[in-house]
């Protein structure tokens, strides 16, 4: 019971053995010809006020996880707990109040803002679900815009009148409008220029400190993840390969995939010309992967055992787990 209390207090989100498989249909009769195992047994938790970074290359299942947590997709297996409450099997009606608690910021703010609505209307739409009076709504709208650094007399303008960075700020304001406690950031800065990217990162960080938000920060950019996250999960083909605090992951990476990812980041120190550990090939198709470790096809230290049996997690240190039997104990 005490554990339960503790969880409600401190753990915003926990997922257990989450799976999402998509059928691949073939032929005239649309028979199921195979499965894409987009998310294939994922566990993690996000503590109150903390940031979990989720990194991986395209097609590894990062965005599918975001959509499953938000119940935009139904999980096939596994459980999702929001503040201790199991939300994995809730009906659409019961999910509705939870939508206020969990919000998402997308990569492309232009695609996610309605071009026919002023930004004020877009943001107010969320406020309407909360019981705000009309006057309060206006006040809250202005407060939200100021909070994300947009002058409140811009609320009558349309999305196309803003720059990319400003649109992302509006996306953040809209997510904040319903006072969520968890925000899923799906590549929120990938489409932005460097000088604007820093503004948005600072904004997200500042809001977290002020409002105690929890973030699930999804990105392929390890530099951004390393800067923002408290804990980091590295994903590959639907599996978490390594999970650790950001410090451990960057200073003591263990999984061969993590090592390869880290060495592939072009460093901004000239002269240190990529002494990279080369990863041959590319991410294979997630459809009907071979048995054994998902990384076997590109792994520099692969052995026969890796191709045969499912690889379990090994504990490499406090809260540092690795899905590779070969690197533990070194």
């Amino acid at each position: 019971m005490a554990d339960m209390e503790n969880e409600i207090q401190n753990v915003t989100l926990r997922v257990e053995n989450l799976k999402k498989h998509f059928p691949v249909r073939r032929g005239f009769f649309q028979r199921i010809g195979g499965w894409v195992k987009a998310v294939d047994g994922v566990d993690f938790e996000i503590e109150q006020g903390k940031t979990l970074g989720l990194v991986g290359e395209s097609g590894c299942g990062k965005s599918t996880i975001a959509r499953v947590i938000l119940k935009l997709l139904e999980p096939d297996h596994g459980k999702i707990f929001y503040r201790g409450q199991d939300i994995s099997n809730l009906s659409e009606k019961d999910v509705k109040p939870l939508r206020k608690e969990m919000q998402i910021i997308f990569q492309d703010p232009f695609g996610s803002l309605n071009p026919r609505m002023t930004v004020g209307q877009s943001i107010e739409e969320g406020l309407r679900t909360l019981d705000f009076s009309r006057g309060d709504r206006k006040e809250r709208l202005n407060e939200l815009l100021e909070m994300v650094g947009i002058s409140s007399n811009n609320s009558d303008r349309y999305p196309h009148e803003f720059s990319g960075g400003q649109r992302q700020r509006i996306g953040v304001a809209r997510a904040l409008s319903v006072e969520p406690s968890l925000i899923i950031c799906d590549e929120p800065v990938s489409a932005l220029d460097v000088s604007i990217q820093a503004q948005i990162i600072n904004l997200l960080k500042g809001l977290q400190d002020r409002l105690g938000l929890s973030y699930l920060f999804i990105s392929h950019d390890l530099n951004v993840v390393g800067y923002l996250s408290d804990k980091v999960a590295v994903m590959y083909l639907g599996h978490i390969m390594e999970f650790a605090s950001a410090g451990d992951l960057f200073e003591n990476p263990l999984h061969p995939y993590t090592l390869a990812l880290l060495s592939a980041i072009p460093s901004t120190e000239p002269g240190r010309k990529m002494e990279m550990k080369f990863l041959p090939g590319e991410v294979p198709s997630p459809q009907d992967p071979p048995p054994g470790c998902k990384f076997q096809g590109r792994c520099p230290i692969v052995e026969a055992q890796c191709r045969e049996e499912e690889i379990a997690f090994y504990e490499a240190g406090e809260g540092h787990i690795v899905r590779c039997w070969k690197v533990v104990g070194r």
Binding site: V194, H220, Y227, A264, P266, S267, P270, E282
Partner: protein, 329 residues
């Protein structure tokens, strides 16, 4: 300077609309020497792609107009060339690699057809020899079992392999210069690393020159010999890689480098450049960077700054920091 391959001098490219004139490239000069990699780095809308397209006469006109300037390739001004003459340069002497390989490859022809075509445009080659040459080029860019890949269509290849095919097409006629416009931006990091290393190794073996255009400072630090930092249609700072990254002299370059998030800056607020890139049709008077610059003076707001010379090829377009450095030095 006989090893100078390409020299762009005071290039101005404007786009005329009904009401406004976008000054996309507004007086840009840069050089590419034989065997070196020159990088143009800048944010979206700074004019880096337009500069590159102008070199090969690929700017649609109208609306684009070349107002002034020269593009000297081995001493000859490409801007004076007729379309027919340019055709002989494109692909043959100067080749280009674009960001999105899928839109640049023709979906209804095989890889072999397309690489073969790139060669056939410039040379008469027997079919058997042509095939052999295609296989060899694909092998050079690191595509496994190239004989089979020749029969593949673009959609059958992965993103990284398509980009390798694009590079193979660019290499087909052994050009002197390859212009690469954000060739790795659409790729995953591990694949990007492979492509960057491919560029480096090709350059070593063929002593080719590369003009590399990107927004990614990390990529620049890894492959560039010489760097041009562009902002709002002008070069803000230029120098070799270590000058730009270790002692940047322009507030914009300094700001860009400081705003990169890294593990070591954790817990500190990231430096960010306030404001946004100006619309190329409504650029501020004076230095285009002045509204976002912490050092801007009244002179910066009225007079367009000249390049200041720090020696050894390191130039910066900021008079304020130059004066400061001179005082201290």
């Amino acid at each position: 300077m006989d090893n100078l391959l390409l020299s762009v001098q005071n290039l101005k490219v404007y786009f005329r609309g009904d009401e406004k004139v976008s000054r996309a490239v507004d007086g840009v000069s840069f050089d590419v020497r034989r065997g070196e990699t020159a990088c143009i780095v800048g944010e979206s809308g700074c004019g880096k792609t337009v500069s590159a397209l102008t070199i090969l006469g690929l700017i649609p006109s109208p609306p684009g107009e070349i107002e002034s300037g020269k593009v000297l390739f081995e001493g000859e001004n490409l801007l004076d060339f007729t379309e027919e003459d340019l055709q002989k340069v494109r692909g043959n002497r100067i080749a280009m690699v674009f960001q999105e390989p899928l839109t640049c490859l023709n979906p209804v022809f095989t890889i072999g057809d397309q690489i073969g075509e790139a060669i056939n445009v410039h040379e008469q080659v027997e079919p058997a020899a042509l095939r052999e040459r295609c296989v060899q080029i694909l092998k050079d860019v690191g595509i496994p079992s190239p004989e089979d890949r020749l029969k593949d269509y673009p959609h059958q290849l992965s993103g990284g392999q398509r980009q390798r095919v694009m590079i193979a097409m660019a290499l087909a006629c052994q050009p002197d210069l390859i212009i690469a416009d954000e060739p790795t931006t659409a790729l995953d990091v591990t694949v990007q690393a492979q492509i960057l290393s491919l560029f480096r190794s090709l350059q070593k073996t063929d002593s080719m020159s590369v003009l590399y255009i990107t927004h990614d400072l990390g990529v620049v630090a890894n492959i560039a010999d010489r760097v041009y930092v562009m902002y709002a249609g002008v070069i803000a700072e230029q120098g070799n890689t270590s000058q730009i990254f270790n002692s940047p002299k322009h507030p914009y370059t300094q700001g860009l480098l400081a705003s990169l998030p890294t593990r070591s800056k954790r817990g500190k607020t990231l430096h960010s450049i306030p404001g946004i890139v100006p619309d190329p049709a409504y650029k501020p008077d004076g230095c285009p960077f002045n509204p976002r610059c912490a050092f801007a003076t009244d002179t910066c707001r009225t007079r367009f700054p000249e390049m200041r010379d720090y020696g050894e090829g390191h130039l910066s377009r900021c008079p304020v920091l130059f004066r400061q450095d001179q005082k201290e030095g």
